[in-house]
């Protein structure tokens, strides 16, 4: 049962957080900082506490706030408020880093400079809405480091830009990418094949549904996204060898579960094996082509998806 909040005690804690953040140096008052904390508490504790931040005890709030990057939060919010000293500090700390981050993401000097400058403009709040300068830094909540947040925001910006540019890919560029060599959609299968395919999909879905979120994330990252073991390991905070062993275990377990599922649906072991292997051969080329479109599923206009249309056209 949550304990009632103690006003006096809460004020002391808020004052302690304020002092720890160094917000005073950037001209942020205690009330302003408390309002920022309340906003953050409302956003995150409301989701985690049955949509009622009021039910969260003062202790929970204090613990949550203690886990925030208060100093960086104060800096970001002071920058968003237009504090000169805060901007000086921000530029001194992150301006150069922004270019490094952009270069790491884009792997291209020109694009990196463009991306970094664009993000810096967004952070400063060049674009005004309703006459009010809006800085992206106002969305920083201190859950992670400010540097990490900047990287994440930059990655999102890069993806958005990439997609925008992809929509305007010329036919020549598509030809260069080998669009004309994409595999045609296989012929419509017969009734027995469709049944077999449905059973296989159901067994696979069932086997995938049994996986934990982390296992599924690992599978998708490695097999779908083509991430390296090192990247997955860094994301999950594990060692590469752990990820490698997990992937081996998952691949082996999935095959067994799918076969077992097919057997449960009335297929013999030989039939199940045949369905699994046949599907592998059938899907091979198609899957490869579809995986290459993975990040650009909406890159091409609907009428210009060549693989399906070309395949259909050839049979018409």
């Amino acid at each position: 049962m949550p304990r009632p909040a103690q006003p006096g005690h809460g004020a002391d804690v808020a004052a302690a957080f304020y002092e720890r953040s160094g917000a005073a140096a950037y001209g942020v008052s205690t009330e302003q900082f408390a309002a920022i904390l309340d906003e953050i508490l409302c956003k995150y504790l409301s989701q985690n506490s049955a949509h009622d931040s009021a039910r969260a005890s003062a202790e929970q709030k204090a613990d949550f706030c203690a886990g925030l990057r208060l100093e960086e939060l104060a800096l970001a919010r002071a920058c968003a408020a237009g504090n000169e000293r805060a901007w000086q500090d921000f530029i001194a700390r992150y301006r150069q880093k922004l270019h490094g981050m952009a270069l790491h993401i884009t792997r291209d000097g020109a694009h990196a400079a463009e991306l970094a400058d664009s993000l810096f403009a967004d952070l400063y709040g060049v674009n005004a809405r309703n006459g009010v300068r809006s800085s992206k830094l106002v969305f920083y909540t201190g859950r992670g480091s400010l540097e990490g947040w900047l990287r994440t925001v930059m990655a999102q910006e890069f993806i958005n830009r990439y997609r925008t540019q992809k929509r305007t890919v010329s036919l020549e560029e598509q030809t260069e990418e080998g669009v004309q060599f994409r595999a045609a959609v296989p012929e419509p299968a017969g009734a027995s094949d469709r049944l077999s395919q449905e059973r296989l999909e159901a067994a696979t879905d069932e086997a995938l549904a049994e996986l934990s979120s982390e296992d599924r994330f690992t599978l998708a990252s490695y097999y779908l996204d083509g991430r390296t073991l090192a990247e997955i390991a860094r994301t999950l905070g594990l060692h590469e060898s752990s990820v490698s062993r997990r992937l081996d275990r998952l691949a082996t377990g999935l095959r067994k579960r799918i076969l077992a599922g097919l057997r449960l649906q009335g297929m013999s072991h030989a039939q199940a094996m045949e369905a699994l292997e046949t599907d592998v051969r059938d899907i091979g080329l198609n899957l490869r082509s579809r995986l290459t479109q993975d990040s650009g599923a909406k890159t091409f206009p609907e009428g210009k998806v060549p693989a399906q249309d070309a395949g259909k056209g050839s049979h018409d």
Binding site: W149, R151, E214, L224, L238, L254, I283, S295
Partner: protein, 440 residues
């Protein structure tokens, strides 16, 4: 990496939420199961700063959302590529990201670092075993050899002198006490190790130390000559002396000279020290030995010969006492007394039992089975094996008798004439002190 069935690719991709990527900088406010986590949550997730429940929620979304997985992958810091976080799954989930120093500390003990340490430790262990163990082996084999010798040598006189064994042991013990400790141990150990291949002098002390436990057997063996007393007459107390001399004889095998001569240590002074104190007791013992040996002479002789089978030779003597020297062969061993039979010493022990001897002044010849023939020109101090031969024939039969005649020409002493009778009635003779031989 193990491949998954292609259907898995298909179904993983088919399960993706078909949503356009919103403005990621803006936090999602409603419908968490249908929205993307904001940049703060993704950052906190990538930095392992989320609580377990929040982390699971983000993971659940990431398992289905390729867009967010891509954002996280792109947002991974470049520096982390080099220094990947190393931690166990449980540790990561239970605790927030440790401080940098703590992380470095953890990575220092992670398996990639430890495996080299483990390899180095393994090499060190193997090296130490290889370096240390052979030394231990050498030390361990020495006593084992001695034990073997001690056990292979039959307890010759023990059965015959059983009634007096207690007294004899006491005598040996008291004798040992009477002499210097080092001499006592030397004699006992060497007596027990008669057939041991010659150890280097540096190891002799170690040999002695290792043989402490066998001193009792050595004492028993020392009674062997006394058991054979009845065959070759002299019945003087010689128990203690036998121990000394035989030990010295075995020790002498250690240092073979270039001339194939075999030197012996003269232990006489030590023997002399012990003698007065033991004389009365030893007399009683010898009387008992004589009685015992007379009962079973054949057995005693065979056992004595067996004891000689693995033995070599030795000899101590003082040339100054040559005029008092008395020789006798007991149990195939040539013994010498330099005090008119008061005490006796083994001076020559060979592979084959000696059967006869002859002496002329300091020239001593001893012959035995299988053509064994030894010559000492210094009263038994050093011995040289002589192999009589003519053309392609060598002396191989038992030497049953030796006759030596000195050739004295004025003040000079010339080479002796030697005549040897063999068991097959052959006679070998040499007129030049054994350099050339004739067979008759």
């Amino acid at each position: 990496m193990t491949e998954v069935p292609k259907i898995v690719y298909d179904r993983l991709r088919a399960a993706r939420p078909e949503r356009a990527l919103p403005d990621r900088a803006l936090p999602e406010r409603a419908g968490p199961e249908r929205t993307h986590p904001d940049a703060d949550l993704l950052t906190a997730f990538a930095e392992q700063a989320l609580a377990a429940t929040e982390r699971d929620g983000v993971l659940e979304h990431l398992a289905f959302c390729g867009d967010c997985r891509e954002v996280i992958a792109l947002a991974l810091p470049a520096a982390d590529i080099v220094a990947a976080p190393i931690a166990t799954e449980t540790a990561v989930r239970a605790t927030p990201v440790p401080a940098k120093s703590e992380r470095n500390f953890l990575t220092a003990f992670a398996w990639p670092s430890l495996r080299w340490a483990a390899l180095a430790a393994g090499v060190a262990v193997v090296a130490s075993v290889l370096l240390v163990h052979p030394g231990k082996l050498n030390q361990a084999t020495l006593p084992s050899v001695n034990r073997q010798v001690a056990t292979t040598a039959p307890p010759v006189s023990a059965p015959q002198i059983a009634p007096s064994s207690t007294d004899q042991a006491a005598i040996s013990a008291r004798t040992s006490e009477a002499r210097p400790k080092s001499e006592s141990r030397l004699s006992k150990k060497l007596n027990a190790g008669e057939a041991v291949t010659p150890p280097p002098r540096a190891e002799r002390g170690m040999l002695l130390a290792e043989n402490k436990n066998h001193s009792g057997q050595a004492d028993k063996l020392s009674a062997a000559p006394s058991a054979g007393v009845l065959f070759d007459a002299p019945t003087s107390p010689r128990t203690t002396e036998t121990v000394e001399v035989s030990g010295a004889a075995a020790a002498e095998e250690v240092a073979p000279s270039a001339e194939d001569s075999l030197m012996a240590w003269n232990e006489t002074p030590a023997i002399e020290k012990a003698k007065p104190a033991l004389q009365e007791k030893e007399m009683k013992v010898n009387e008992q030995q004589k009685t015992q040996a007379a009962v079973v002479p054949g057995l005693a002789r065979s056992q004595a010969r067996a004891m000689m089978s693995s033995a070599k030779l030795a000899s101590p003597a003082s040339p100054a006492l040559a005029h008092n020297v008395t020789w006798v062969i007991i149990a195939g061993v040539l013994q010498r007394s330099v005090d008119s039979g008061q005490s006796w010493q083994n001076v020559l022990r060979t592979d084959h039992p000696l059967l006869c001897y002859a002496s002329h002044e300091e020239d001593v010849w001893a012959g035995g089975q299988a053509g064994t023939l030894f010559h000492s020109a210094d009263g038994g101090t050093t011995w040289v094996q002589v192999q009589p031969s003519i053309k392609a024939q060598q002396l191989s039969s038992d030497v049953t008798h030796i006759d030596v005649r000195g050739d004295v020409r004025g003040d000079e002493r010339g080479p002796a004439e030697i005549a040897i009778s063999t068991s097959n009635n052959g006679i070998w003779s040499s007129a030049d002190g054994g350099k050339t031989w004739e067979k008759k």
